[in-house]
């Protein structure tokens, strides 16, 4: 199929439809309302169900009901809306229902702003709602990758019977890029014999998250943990860039920020500084082993984010104290420029001899100089 020029939000919607995501519930919020608008046009054409709900509190419960009845159900929203959905996501995880959530992240906290951000990293990968659960979290860095991810998201949601979250920033949602819709083949999925489709010729099915017996609840917790462990073994995805030759600096960045880092690497190379990039594609499970493997070959790591430092915690956790892990970020809806990331790298390279590897002082310094680094980048 020939490539078409599409806005990220609309391309995500079209890809979801092609992946069989035919039950879509939503509530308008900038910067992802185009998904809802597109779905409202397309769903009647393909015989799907589109419904604009009364709130983002109701949306995931509609997804819960539809998914519980065996449909491929999904929604999309942006940060404040995703916060409201956390109740439903927790119930979906507990009831072991498949569902796909797309978060086109905007600046926060609170009402924040409508410009791109990566400030929902911790919410997405560490749980978000109450209780002991995880979402499988995918992070596209281009419109094409977002398109390719939707079928994968639906497949993995069904396969694991677990919520999958696709985290794109406002840039991914709003940007227009040429995309191609490819047919993706997956191994056959087990029948949804647990769904509430009417107890005809079988015992009643129950979609439920209530277990008053602590033994039964713990069994669920253990079963969920095993699921997340399987994801850690089988679902880790990342991209390496420029790692095939020696490098002094390993940049770690996902989504839009990773694209900026590729420009950063070219600019650093022009100045005689070798740098490489690790781009996590799955944020949960996080590519910990890759961080360690590639980080060992660098003098230090720099986590570049559109936040005040969230993924850096996972980078640090993966790297331990073997190499210094630094952070550079812009927030509030400001996208970092390649120039200021270059400057941040150079500042660290110059400061390296005075910065003992991985001890407490270095970590304190990392935190205390975040603001200073940002200002340095502006000059």
């Amino acid at each position: 199929m020939a490539k078409v020029l599409m806005k990220g939000n609309e391309a995500i919607a079209e890809s979801a439809i092609r992946a069989g995501g035919l039950c879509y519930f939503c509530y308008p919020i900038t910067p992802q309302s185009e998904v809802a608008e597109y779905m409202s046009r397309r769903m009647p054409e393909v015989g799907g169900a589109f419904l604009q709900a009364e709130s983002e509190v109701a949306v995931p419960n509609m997804v819960y009901g539809a998914s519980g009845a065996g449909a491929r159900a999904w929604t999309s929203s942006s940060s404040p809306g995703i916060s409201l959905m956390q109740e439903g996501i927790s119930y979906i995880a507990a009831a072991e229902l498949p569902a796909v959530f797309v978060n086109i992240v905007r600046a926060g906290p609170g009402l924040g702003g409508i410009l791109p951000s990566q400030g929902d990293y911790l919410q997405a990968v560490k749980g978000g709602g109450h209780g002991d659960y995880r979402c499988l979290v995918l992070a596209p860095s281009s419109v094409q990758e977002a398109v390719d991810m939707m079928p994968l998201a639906f497949d993995r949601a069904d396969r694991y019977r677990n919520p999958v979250m696709v985290v794109g920033d406002g840039m991914i949602g709003q940007m227009m890029e040429p995309v191609e819709f490819k047919d993706r083949e997956f191994p056959p999925l087990p029948a949804k014999d647990w769904a509430t489709t009417g107890a005809k010729g079988r015992k009643p099915n129950l979609v439920n998250s209530l277990h008053l017996d602590p033994k039964v609840e713990e069994e669920l917790n253990v079963r969920l943990a095993a699921k997340y462990e399987k994801m850690r073994k089988e679902e880790v995805r990342s991209e390496e860039y420029n790692t095939d030759k020696p490098y002094r600096v390993l940049l770690v960045a996902y989504g839009t920020t990773a694209r900026i880092c590729k420009t950063v690497i070219a600019e650093l190379a022009a100045q005689g500084i070798a740098a490489a990039l690790l781009r996590p594609i799955t944020l949960f499970p996080f590519p910990e082993a890759k961080v360690l493997e590639l980080g060992r070959k660098a003098e230090f790591l720099l986590s570049v984010e559109m936040s005040m430092g969230q993924m850096v915690e996972d980078v640090h956790c993966a790297m331990g104290h073997e190499k210094p892990v630094y952070f550079f970020g812009r927030a509030g809806g400001i996208v970092p420029s390649p120039g200021e990331v270059v400057q941040a790298v150079k500042t660290r390279l110059e400061g390296l001899p005075h910065c003992p590897t991985g001890d407490a002082e270095a970590n304190d310094e990392r935190r205390m100089t975040n603001a200073g680094t940002s200002e340095g980048g502006k000059s």
Partner: protein, 257 residues
């Protein structure tokens, strides 16, 4: 030999956890009888709420989903939109439906979702130990209104049938009671109408049951029945609020701008 009385197929054999004198058991049975009568059990999906009837799925012999507190109408919407052929009903108490789930019930009703809502109003939060509900009567003592409901502070009880009946879309709204045999007979007929309308894909259907809670009211079952009759029935009239008419579904066309 002719069978005159037996357990409905739509009920399981599990003994319920409901208190003596509580009317949940009667209401469960009425739903089960109507579903049996209409032959809908094999395509029925019930939604259990959070509250005393949180374990309703143990008592109904049919598919069930357990919803978050107040969200049953949203869950039912999801099921019905995905599978319009299924017969879907929510079973919700007054805290669930009239307090935390107010937005979900109003909008499901206003969209005309074609499922049935069974609303059980006993004027108190039962499961959590007798706290004040949105439907608690003025002056009624509860564990969070120890001096009686003060309408100057928290307003008057919410009348859900009246509130929903103010909307244009919902097709069938009726309040019933089950504290006397006559009321039980009437309630059964109303419930049957609601499920028939759903079966025929007609409209949103809402049946409110006035219910007793002897345990949290601090009364014997017989006293509780009397209390309902004297205090609740005058404020919550047992009557029909909306009858389905084919014509009322015709929307008014939007005027050209």
């Amino acid at each position: 030999m002719r069978t005159l009385f037996q357990r409905p197929e739509s009920l399981t054999t599990s003994p319920t956890h409901y208190c003596p004198g509580c009317t949940h058991g009667i209401i469960h049975r009425l739903i089960a009888e109507v579903i049996d009568e209409l032959g809908l059990r094999e395509r029925a999906v019930g939604i259990a709420p959070v509250g005393c009837s949180v374990l309703a799925f143990n008592y109904f012999n049919m598919d069930f989903q357990e919803a978050a507190h107040g969200r049953a109408p949203a869950v039912a919407t999801g099921i019905k939109r995905a599978r319009p052929d299924l017969i879907v009903f929510t079973y919700q108490g007054d805290g669930d439906l009239a307090s935390i789930g107010m937005a979900e019930i109003v909008h499901a009703a206003n969209r005309g979702e074609k499922f049935t809502v069974v609303f059980v109003n006993n004027a108190v939060y039962g499961m959590t130990g007798g706290q004040m509900a949105p439907t608690t009567m003025p002056g009624q003592v509860t564990t969070t209104s120890p001096r009686g409901r003060d309408v100057g502070q928290v307003g008057y009880p919410v009348r859900m049938c009246e509130l929903l009946a103010s909307l244009r879309t919902p097709g069938f709204i009726e309040r019933v009671a089950v504290h006397t045999p006559q009321h039980v007979v009437r309630a059964r007929r109303v419930l049957r109408t609601a499920f028939e309308l759903q079966r025929d894909k007609k409209c949103f259907t809402f049946v409110e049951f006035l219910s007793t809670c002897p345990t949290n009211w601090g009364l014997t079952p017989i006293e509780a029945t009397k209390w309902l009759e004297e205090n609740m029935a005058p404020y919550y009239p047992v009557q029909n609020f909306k009858k389905f008419e084919e014509t009322q579904k015709a929307p008014e066309p939007a005027k050209e701008a």
